[in-house]
């Protein structure tokens, strides 16, 4: 055998990330993903409504454990995701460069920004409660405490153009506060999202907390928006035609929280809007105990 024999390429099979596993689409369908110049990159699964349904089941199953984890623990896990991303930086630089037609150096800037964003949100997990919750003054011998609680299962239609930084910027705030997510990746460039699934699987993140589907938002969106077991929907990537409006109408049926699409520059500092969009405020009254003669029980 000749020493110069050229090595055959080992192509990667991109798969979905659902419930901590990597299934193909239930439908068996795939579609071709090409780079910004139209060159074929890979086949990605074309998810069906049944994949979306399975993802919701997985997300619901994971919700109790994830919402119940301490904020500190969630922060550690999100930081771990950033660590894992750092280790696969080169792969993401390549994928982002292909997907968005950027030079290697510009793609590296985007990937670094995305990793930093994970770290930023990891820091917020145990601080958001102080910002949007607190003790309320009341006229009576009670503590009155408001605390932010996760909404539940959130469907995220990821941005169509910013295939990685945008993706991270919509997933991280959803899960940082204890929600679980069903993500419809960018239809045109889903590969960074599907690779992100591989990172999440190795980051101590419990299976089902993030579920990533590739395919058409217009196909899966209506089913997820009408799904009675989805509690909120982020329409950031529903930019196609009248889709966002249709999804919002479908979502009204069980009073889902809806985050409407808006023009957004993912390079800017994100603020806490995306986290508070999927939080609900729980307020509890608690007696301070009987008051002593001095008017205080302490």
């Amino acid at each position: 055998m000749s020493e110069q024999q050229t090595r055959l390429n080992v192509f990667k099979t991109y798969k979905l990330y659902v419930g901590g596993k990597f299934p193909r689409s239930e439908s068996g369908r795939v579609y071709e993903v090409s780079d910004s110049k139209g060159k074929w990159l890979a086949n990605a699964p074309l998810s069906s409504r049944k994949d979306a349904r399975d993802a919701v089941v997985a997300a619901r199953k994971a919700f109790g454990g994830w919402a119940g984890a301490t904020a500190y623990n969630r922060g550690q896990i999100l930081y771990r995701v950033a660590e894992m991303l750092e280790g696969r930086r080169d792969q993401f630089v390549r994928e982002v460069a292909d997907a968005e037609g950027l030079s290697k150096s510009k793609a590296a800037v985007v990937v670094d920004a995305a990793i930093d964003r994970w770290v930023w949100y990891a820091g917020w997990t145990d601080k958001i409660a102080q910002v949007v919750g607190g003790a309320n003054p009341v006229a009576g011998p009670y503590f009155n405490l408001s605390s932010p609680e996760p909404t539940g299962v959130v469907t995220v239609v990821a941005p169509q153009d910013s295939s990685f930084l945008g993706l991270v910027s919509v997933i991280a705030p959803v899960i940082a506060t204890g929600n679980t997510a069903v993500v419809i990746a960018s239809e045109k460039s889903p590969l960074p999202a599907l690779s992100l699934g591989e990172v999440l699987a190795t980051s101590d993140l419990p299976g089902g907390v993030v579920n990533i589907l590739s395919g058409k938002a217009a196909e899966m969106g209506p089913h997820l928006a009408a799904h009675q077991d989805v509690n909120a929907i982020d329409l950031t990537g529903a930019t196609e035609g009248d889709l966002a409006r249709e999804l919002e109408i479908a979502a009204a049926d069980n009073l889902k929280r809806v985050l409407r699409p808006r023009s957004e520059d993912f390079n800017e500092s994100p603020g806490t809007d995306r986290m508070t969009a999927f939080l609900e405020t729980k307020t509890v009254w608690h007696p301070t105990g009987s008051l002593g003669a001095s008017g205080s029980s302490y």
Partner: protein, 319 residues
């Protein structure tokens, strides 16, 4: 249709002695395990959609023995279960009732009162369920107690120890004695606990033994061991009741129990029934599911078909 008594007399020579019974049971054809599992798996690939699915879901709901068999059962829990059996989906009154509720003997009176007037039956496990390790007089008393409290159906367990030791006549006589106790007052379901019988051959033998002894229903499992109803062991039992009817003219019911948790699996079982024994058994008089969480999944699928929207566990009861 001939009565069960005549079926028993048809096998009088077989059941005359332990030796004769053993010769008969061991003379039954051996089970082709690979073929059985392949057949069950291939029938599980049928695609049941739209109107057929709606029909299958309603049929499956009407076949459920809604079961609670826990040490922690309280009268309140049994009443809640009975209310669900009578009216599975309060948001949709077209939902059929389940066939029965299945409880421990001491809960029969509570359950009976709770389902009164609805047509839902009360099944009671008996005979030292789930192990079946008690003397015959105790088992008879257990059964009599349940019937006296108003049970319409008795789910008895066989003595697996005696069966596995080869004391077939002992098992036969126990089933016959319980059947005599039930008389016309209650239908008798005989649980083999297939997960403890080790081989398919044993399941076939147990099926024939139960049917000859007068069972009205043969049932796979208690739901208390690792392996419960599977498509393969249910298919095997369906073949046994088919052959038994061909030979004696007596129709026997089948009840897979335990481990059937979602609509897809339940529909696979209905396909098995239809393809193996035919439409005569597609009725809750002849086929039942022993289940509890299955009902919720069936209701969620039913809501999906009715509204076009996926439903969720928030819209069914927690139990």
């Amino acid at each position: 249709m001939p009565t069960t008594a005549s079926a028993a007399s048809a096998f009088a020579d077989v059941t005359a002695s332990d030796g004769a019974l053993r010769r008969f049971l061991h003379g039954l054809p051996g089970v082709d395990a690979v073929g059985l599992e392949a057949r069950a798996a291939s029938l599980g690939t049928r695609s049941i959609k739209t109107t057929a699915k709606a029909y299958a879901i309603d049929l499956a709901i009407s076949m459920i023995d809604l079961t609670t068999l826990e040490g922690a059962d309280t009268p309140g829990k049994v009443r809640a279960l009975a209310a669900k059996a009578v009216n599975p989906d309060p948001t949709d009154r077209t939902t059929p009732t389940t066939a029965a509720v299945c409880v421990y003997p001491d809960m029969v009176a509570t359950a009976k009162a709770a389902v009164a007037g609805s047509g839902v039956k009360v099944a009671s496990v008996a005979t030292a369920f789930p192990a079946g390790r008690a003397a015959l007089p105790v088992k008879l008393a257990d059964t009599a107690d349940a019937i006296a409290a108003g049970a319409d159906e008795i789910d008895m367990v066989i003595d697996r120890g005696a069966f596995l030791a080869g004391h077939y006549l002992k098992v036969y006589e126990q089933i016959a004695a319980i059947k005599a106790e039930c008389g016309d007052r209650a239908r008798l379901k005989v649980i083999f606990e297939t997960g403890e019988l080790s081989t398919y051959d044993n399941i076939r033998r147990a099926s024939w033994l139960g049917m000859m002894a007068g069972a009205d229903f043969i049932k796979t499992s208690t739901g208390k061991v690792a392996v419960n109803a599977t498509p393969a062991n249910t298919l095997l039992m369906l073949e046994a009741v088919r052959d038994f009817r061909a030979q004696t003219g007596v129709q026997i019911g089948v009840k897979p129990a335990g481990g059937i948790r979602n609509t897809k699996e339940a529909i696979k079982f209905l396909v098995l029934v239809n393809e193996t024994v035919g439409e005569d058994w597609l009725d809750n008089h002849w086929f039942r599911f022993g289940a509890s969480s299955l009902l919720n999944d069936l209701l969620m699928q039913r809501q999906k078909l009715a509204t076009g929207r996926y439903s969720g566990p928030d819209y069914v009861t927690v139990d």
